[in-house]
Homo-oligomer: 325 residues x 2
């Protein structure tokens, strides 16, 4: 499978590294909207200008689009799906149906297959939710995120006057996790489920009390949560908070048996040192499925819900049945 990487930020670099771990995957090139001469790839993959992608039609089996969901992917994925089979990690949940429709139309017009919203949430967590609900229809599903860095919340803190840098960790509350695992199916508010912890580098002489108050009362982001704020130095930020860990839990408890006497709990958990590198792993596996399914004649837009697990694996069916079943 020959892949292209469109966009070379944290996610694009993760895809380049992960592709090298997969014997069936060859990276043809990185495509960038920056000056290619100024982009140095981790593994020496050649870099091409973004406007040259169409020169690679027929030379790339799947283009993996590593852009942001807010403004990049709604434009890029439909545009590239005309020329290539594509995979993206579009993660703006409420806009998924509209994105799906736009990509479906473009991919069908180009005779290509596109898979959107691959990653861990949406992605592997979505799969965990569908599996658990399909098996245990009488129950309740909970998703917890963290401990990990939330990019959106970190950005929101950075926009406050007097803040130079900020990192926000989303942390699931242990007592909520325990209540859910026990099968009690509790009603939980946002505040019950997650804690928000912020590490902030403030400008010299800034009013720390005002900054802390602005964070804690920020609607949509912090007001509905218990929030802890720490002021640290730029050196501490660099030393202790330069990684992008994340993860979380999908837990469903379902009742079975006469009078629903039995509780059964399914839990899917991720603990990731690197959010973008794990996401890259999902993108490569999704690209493999797209490649196989397109060879069988499929076109249009799909998600991981439409992919048989065997298509994600490089192993043939008889090996999977013998070794993994």
């Amino acid at each position: 499978m020959r892949i292209g990487i469109y966009g070379y930020g944290n996610l694009g670099r993760g895809v380049e590294l992960c592709a090298a771990q997969n014997a069936d995957t060859q990276t043809v090139g990185v495509f960038t909207r920056r000056d290619p001469a100024k982009v140095k790839t981790l593994l020496g993959t050649p870099v091409f200008p973004a406007q040259k992608t169409s020169d690679f039609k027929g030379k790339i089996d799947v283009m993996i689009i590593c852009g942001g969901s807010a403004t990049d992917l709604p434009i890029l994925t439909p545009a590239l799906a005309k020329d290539f089979c594509v995979v993206d990690s579009f993660d703006t949940h409420p806009k998924i149906p509209a994105h799906f429709a736009a990509v479906d139309e473009a991919a069908k017009a180009g005779g290509n297959l596109a898979l959107i919203s691959a990653g861990w949430d949406p992605g592997m967590f979505s799969l965990a939710r569908v599996f658990a609900e399909s098996i245990l229809p009488a129950g309740k599903t909970y998703t917890f995120w963290g401990k990990g860095v939330s990019q959106g919340h970190s950005d929101a803190v950075r926009r406050i006057e007097g803040v130079i840098d900020a990192r926000q960790y989303t942390i699931p509350k242990e007592e909520a996790l325990l209540a859910v695992r026990s099968g009690k199916n509790p009603e939980l508010t946002a505040r019950d489920k997650h804690l928000r912890e912020c590490f902030v580098v403030a400008a010299e002489g800034a009013d720390l009390e005002r900054i802390e108050n602005e964070i804690k009362t920020m609607t949509d982001y912090f007001a509905d949560y218990d929030t802890i704020v720490h002021f640290i130095s730029a050196e501490e930020m660099k030393r202790d908070h330069s990684e992008l860990p994340h993860g979380g839990f999908v837990i469903r408890s379902g009742k079975t048996g006469t009078d629903a006497c039995h509780n059964n709990t399914v839990e899917y958990r991720l603990a990731l040192d690197s959010n973008p590198e794990f996401t890259a792993g999902v993108l490569i596996a999704a690209a493999r499925a797209v490649y196989k399914k397109h060879l069988r004649g499929e076109t249009g837009c799909i998600t991981l819900f439409d992919v048989a697990p065997a298509d994600l694996s490089p192993k043939p069916g008889e090996v999977l049945r013998k070794e993994m079943l």
Copy 2:
């Protein structure tokens, strides 16, 4: 979807109860090799003699076969796949390829679709292994079973002279779980991973020391493990050990990043009050997928590896994308 239940033990009863939780599923009948007049179903489902199944050809969409893997399913599944789409929970791992081949031939001859080895291991745990390995190619996967009742090990203890009844619990060792979760990818022996705990009702005057020694030194079953033996009364057995809980963990740690500097851990965990009722839930979801795929013209034998998650769910694709992605 109209289902039939072939066999009415713990698993068959679980399927009857679970079918009632699914609005799209109607149970046509239970088929038994016992005298139907003597089988009373939990929900009043009609009972028919096993030799009458062919009268129901065309009236049942999927026959769910609830028999044992040792002697029942190798005969039953190929035989029934000639007349019906079928699902079974065949779980003798080394014999899966042979069973698959026999069922594939029979199902193709009958124009039917068969799904074998659905349940939790093989089944949901197999899926967890394939997903995790496909996403994190550089890593190691561990499966732990328990805490739960192992039927095979309980039976082995019951065969010892002087034993009236026995229940064996398989228990994962906490320190092994912690080592695996930490990403150290340790080498673990059978003894490192699991503890075996036996509750035994002995005949009056039996030599307890001999029984305990026979258990602990039994090859294949106990000799390679740390085993704890408790002697209890028949009343205690009935009061404390009449349920069939089980569960376990599939954990994979994979390295990503430059110089494999990041560890990412995926964990899939089941904690089941009722092993047969959860297995029944998987069988119903698998039957739904078989029904949908057969309507699309598929025949032969498949496993859960070949099923797109959307086919397990009663919800249509656009609802899944809107609500679950």
